[in-house]
């Protein structure tokens, strides 16, 4: 008997090969910019980065052709606007992050309040019919979901962030995102299409081979030695994978070092003496005891006994992987059809002992090196795609998420083109 395939649940996605053109065609990339990125919610950071009135961050979002300022204003709310002065352009924010009372353009000194309102114009009386109330900074939409800040270049979004997330991610509210406030970040500009990069993170087929030296041992394999996900879910746009781990490994045990009390997490492999030591001295190292937290039902939705973590892809380019003891937040920000800014963030609980901090450094360093393995294939894959030697890629059952992404993007572009065509016909 053949086991039921993931693909059987999503017959509308098909089973054939997927085309290579969307990964290498500059014209397709322009369509993605127009119909995906400029009209959707994009993750830019955490609320903990902007705790106080006057805190701001500047995010360069190449796919929006824009720099966006996100600031916490006097009403404690977040505002987001283009980093473009209303007078003769130039910029109003110059540092990647900071705290300020107002934003000033360095050209003629126009001043803006934290919510983007124009408040100061030097030599104002020499302007003709100047109405300051209409000349604030150009707003974009901003909202938060469980402490994640999202922006939308469309000032009047088609769907709210809540309605955008809920079809697949309703019920995340009890996950302790706000307890994981120790963040490590890395950035790389990789010469590949953003989908080539994201695809490498939304399947586990590669783990046995690409991560054979590092973390493959920590994930659960079936009797044939294959590393299949427990399950997968494809929404209209978003998608999820659930992964099982070996609870006797530091990487595969989701409870490692979460408890303030002593606990027994073994390390079954020889040759992991530093891991074993890190686990031992980490006990009781977190500021908060995380052992009592009840995780949301939507994590480990199959209730698998060896569940380790879920991969959540928030359409289009946000990867959020959640475990009981930390989470990873990656963005694959398109720059051009063959260039991507990879922003990797991992968030751990705050540690209050040297042992806890050592364990965290162990985990963080191991993760960074695993990411170097993941990144290693991207540029060669892009170069191979660009040769034109292959017009299609073959997809196996557990690479369903790669297919789902391709199909969802195609559909949005087709819908956008059809809408624009109808508008033109009506004119």
């Amino acid at each position: 008997m053949t086991a039921a395939r993931l693909h059987d649940r999503y017959p509308e996605l098909g089973t054939g090969p997927i085309p290579v053109a969307p990964y290498i065609d500059p014209a397709y990339f322009e369509l993605e910019k127009k119909y995906l990125f400029k009209n959707t919610w994009l993750h830019v950071g955490r609320v903990e980065e902007l705790p106080k009135v006057g805190d701001y961050m500047l995010r360069n979002i190449p796919v929006l052709d824009s720099e966006i300022v996100i600031a916490r204003a006097r009403d404690k709310k977040l505002y987001a606007f283009h980093n473009v002065c209303s007078h003769r352009l130039n910029k109003i924010a110059y540092q990647p992050t900071g705290t300020t009372r107002k934003f000033f353009c360095k050209f003629h000194g126009w001043a803006y309040d934290l919510d983007g309102t124009l408040t100061g114009v030097p030599d104002e009386k020499s302007f003709m019919d100047l109405d300051k109330s209409c000349l604030g900074l150009t707003r974009v939409s901003v909202d938060t979901w469980n402490g994640f800040i999202f922006i939308n270049a469309n000032p009047a979004p088609d769907v709210s962030l809540k309605d955008f997330m809920e079809p697949v991610y309703a019920g995340f509210e009890t996950y302790p995102f706000d307890k994981f406030t120790a963040c490590y970040a890395w950035n790389a500009v990789v010469n590949c299409n953003w989908k080539v990069a994201l695809d490498a993170f939304q399947e586990t087929y590669h783990v046995n081979y690409l991560h054979g030296r590092s973390i493959a041992y920590a994930l659960l394999k079936d009797e044939d030695g294959n590393l299949h996900p427990i399950d997968g879910i494809c929404g209209d746009l978003h998608r999820r994978l659930s992964i099982a781990g070996d609870p006797d490994t530091v990487y595969g045990n989701p409870q490692a070092a979460t408890a303030a009390a002593e606990q027994d997490v073994g390390v079954n492999q020889t040759g992991h003496r530093i891991a074993a030591k890190a686990l031992k001295v980490a006990q009781g190292g977190t500021r908060y005891d995380l052992s009592g937290i009840k995780l949301p039902e939507l994590l480990n939705w199959t209730k698998h006994p060896s569940w380790a973590f879920d991969i959540n892809v928030v359409f289009p380019d946000f990867y959020l992987s959640c475990r009981p003891n930390y989470f990873q937040a990656y963005n694959f920000r398109p720059i051009s059809h063959d260039k991507t800014l990879f922003e990797a963030r991992v968030y751990y609980p705050e540690m209050v002992t040297a042992g806890g901090r050592f364990y965290q450094e162990y985990m963080k360093t191991a993760l960074r090196d695993v990411l170097l393995e993941d990144l290693s294939t991207l540029e060669t894959t892009q170069a191979a795609a660009a040769t034109g030697a292959k017009q299609e890629m073959i997809i196996q059952d557990f690479e369903l998420m790669v297919r789902h992404q391709a199909v969802a993007i195609d559909r949005l572009i087709e819908e956008g083109l059809r809408r624009d065509g109808q508008l033109q016909a009506a004119e």
């Binding site: 992050t97 901090r357 393995e373």
Partner: protein, 116 residues
């Protein structure tokens, strides 16, 4: 002048590992041979509990440390930096066939990054 607290004088030959930044620790790891990083790890491993106890006992109210204890803390974090080489990539010091670590840049000014 010694960099470490007196009770850890035996680790003094490895005090070039007292580096405050991840980028510095990583650069040192990938610039040395495997035997050198392994010798560092072998010297550190039996001392980890004592090192942690010393650091925890020397933390001031405001979270700061005396110079020698801070050096020791940074040295402990260097042990984590060499761990993947020893546990996964032996006899290589870098990620085998990995992306260039110098192009994957840590943001060491990120607002939520721990101070140490």
């Amino acid at each position: 002048m010694s960099k470490l607290p007196p009770e850890f004088a035996a680790l003094e030959p490895f005090s070039d590992w007292c580096l405050p930044l991840e980028s510095q620790r990583n650069l040192r790891r990938v610039s040395l041979g495997f035997a050198e990083i392994n010798a560092f790890a072998e010297a550190m491993l039996p001392q980890v509990e004592a090192i942690c106890a010393h650091i925890d006992a020397h933390r001031a109210e405001d979270g700061s440390y005396d110079r020698e204890s801070l050096n020791l803390f940074h040295m402990l974090l260097s042990l984590a930096e060499v761990a993947p080489a020893i546990e996964s990539y032996d006899p290589e010091v870098e990620v085998v066939d990995g992306y260039d670590t110098r192009k994957f840049v840590p943001d060491e000014t990120h607002k939520l990054r721990p101070a140490i």
